[in-house]
Symmetry: C2
């Protein structure tokens, strides 16, 4: 991936360049690391928007990047790090529907760290906002008009790949998987670190990237260059589907409340299991009694169990169920489904490594575990699911790295 | 499939025998046909539980068959046809939860057509109820105890295959597909009929059977015998999921009301389209502006658009949406998803023909069209989706054909 740094990512002369365009500006990544506030870091806490330090990066950075998706608008910018030296990469996100607020936040960042005040209405051609995601196109004119600088549009799929490659190759402690047997997270590195203490991923390529936002995109990557990736498919059953259903089936006010509710639920109260249909497992085809045969498959039976139930309106029908059970069932349904389709795509293209990213996972234990288990189940253990701490920021990180030297 | 009838299905000596067990009882299928009540048959009406006439079948039939699934219990039995001669095969279904009522119905059939009255409590070993589906195991003792005859259990996957093969090879006007360009159903036959008026399917094997009940099973079939089929996968997002969600998100009282509601809805009011995210299509990856990026992806945004919305309870949140729009969105979501997974399985095993069956479809236009379109879209037109009029009765038909001559 990087000419000089693939085996020497911790030497002083470690430069990161991707191969997706001509003349990308290099980034000094020697000793790049996620910044943990030691006071607040708990063993179970998976930091997802923590800054990344680039202590040896002294060059002036004239770029910020944004990735405006269907649900969330993501920002990646740099600021000086007076204490450690160099710069920090910082990450921020806000609902896409609050686009005006998002743009105001960018303006504040530009004033504070980029010496550019859009309020002066003076166009600064040296300053570049690199924009990806659908909103880069939908809001292009608005961005240009309100930020008064260059807006450089980049392809969403490409930025996801570039961002992923950067995180995987250059940032320690970024990538991890869930070990079902030991019931814990395990961090991995692409290259052996000096201590030999982290588990190593062999062979960066090929892999499947599954990005789960409002919807799902699945991208096959076979090498470092612009001709080596292909969006092979996706799904419309993504984060937007789960949040949408749970926003009208529960009283939750945020995504995190929904996930917390799911953690408390018992899906077996609403899901139809093989055991419910067979009275036992369906052994000849390897389906255990607790395998989910039909998500939410018990619900309509309960609603329609008698004439009275059939005649009730929606509000009364819903009261027959615990919100928590519905939340858990749907979290499993959406996650298992993504896992299955990801497996089938990986199998199709003979890919052993599957990276799950996007704002859906929110580093939530059940979601990570469900996706992991699905890959393990369908592949008979021959494929592996990986996750990233900066899971929602692949696109904005990749866009940031599309800085041009011209 | 049949030794003497593969090219002579309309001659007097047309015997049907499958190859899934030793000594299956043959069935006389010369001139087998679906019975249409001419007075009630409308051009658009797709008859799904109509009797099948076997006018030359004179042998006494001592068997009935049942397929008890997660949601529906299906029955296949024969009765004499004094007018046309021979027998009719008849089909009946009831919710599995009404198992006692179902058994009472079977008892009535046994009295009326099989000269067996379970009320006499006399065990009749010559009479056989061939049972498949999970309920064959779950309710085995109950069936034996209340029907007082032999209960012969048969594997569900195998019965589906046997039933499908029978319908495809022996019953004219049973199989059809949806022609998107001409916007109409087209009946197909496996063999050329004398008139040459029906479209012909070449090569019975191989194919993928996708059976959609509460959940989904996908079975690859490469030949006529018991070793030539394999359940390659399935999905927990099936009929039970759609009915479950719609039973608490709408006021509908039946499945048909739900489908009617879906037909009236506009899913674009609740789904997030590529055009909503990009302001246009995402042309470089071939996604048009009206492609669904996220099913129900607009819903949570509307619920959470302000603090007031966030604080409302579920009942009030739901009122922001039309039931019809939600119904259509979820019908598309579940159907498209099944279509995609079916495509990936067919692609994996190099199968060009995909039969969709099960009680989910209910011969509903939108569902048929969505499944057809999904296969066409994902396969670039290289694979084809087929449907059956007796879609819900593959398992019970196949079980019926497991009559033993011993």
């Amino acid at each position: 991936m990087t000419e000089s740094s693939s085996t020497s990512s911790h030497q002083n002369s470690s430069i990161y360049i991707h191969h997706h365009c001509e003349n990308p500006k290099p980034l000094q990544v020697a000793d790049a690391h996620i910044i943990y506030d030691e006071k607040n870091y708990l063993p179970d806490e998976v930091p997802d928007t923590r800054d990344i330090a680039l202590p040896y990066n002294e060059d002036k950075i004239n770029e910020i990047s944004i990735d405006i998706g269907g649900s969330l608008a993501k920002l990646c910018y740099s600021k000086p790090d007076p204490q450690a030296g160099g710069v920090r990469l910082c990450f921020y996100s806000l609902e896409t529907d609050k686009i005006d607020l998002f743009i105001r936040f960018i303006q504040e960042i530009l004033v504070q760290y980029y010496h550019h005040d859009p309020a002066h209405h003076l166009y600064n051609e040296n300053l570049v906002v690199i924009a990806t995601g659908g909103g880069a196109y939908k809001y292009y004119d608005k961005l240009r008009h309100e930020l008064h600088c260059t807006v450089q549009k980049e392809d969403e799929m490409q930025c996801l790949i570039i961002g992923l490659d950067f995180f995987v190759t250059e940032i320690k402690r970024e990538v991890f998987y869930f070990d079902e047997a030991k019931h814990c997270y395990v961090e991995v590195e692409l290259n052996d670190d000096e201590n030999g203490q982290t588990e190593v991923i062999e062979d960066q390529y090929p892999y499947l990237l599954v990005n789960i936002g409002s919807g799902v995109s699945m991208i096959k990557v076979t090498g470092p260059g612009p001709d080596s990736f292909l969006r092979v498919g996706g799904s419309s059953l993504g984060g937007g589907t789960l949040w949408g259903l749970l926003s009208i089936l529960t009283d939750c006010r945020t995504f995190d409340e929904m996930l917390e509710m799911a953690a408390q639920g018992n899906n077996e109260n609403v899901d139809l299991l093989v055991g419910d249909i067979y009275g036992q497992g369906y052994n000849s085809i390897g389906l255990k009694a607790n395998h989910i045969a039909s998500s939410m498959g018990k619900v309509y039976k309960k609603v329609f169990e008698d004439e009275k139930g059939r005649n009730e309106d929606r509000e009364h029908r819903l009261h027959k169920f615990h919100q928590q059970d519905i939340a858990r069932s749907l979290l499993y349904a959406v996650s298992n489904n993504i896992g299955q389709i990801a497996y089938l795509q990986a199998q199709r293209y003979n890919l052993k490594k599957i990276y799950f990213a996007g704002s859906y996972i929110r580093n939530h234990y059940q979601t990570i575990r469900t996706l992991s288990y699905a890959i393990d189940f369908w592949s008979g253990g021959t494929k592996k699911a990986y996750f990233l701490r900066h899971e929602g920021y692949l696109g904005s990180m990749g866009a940031f790295l599309m800085r041009r030297a011209d």
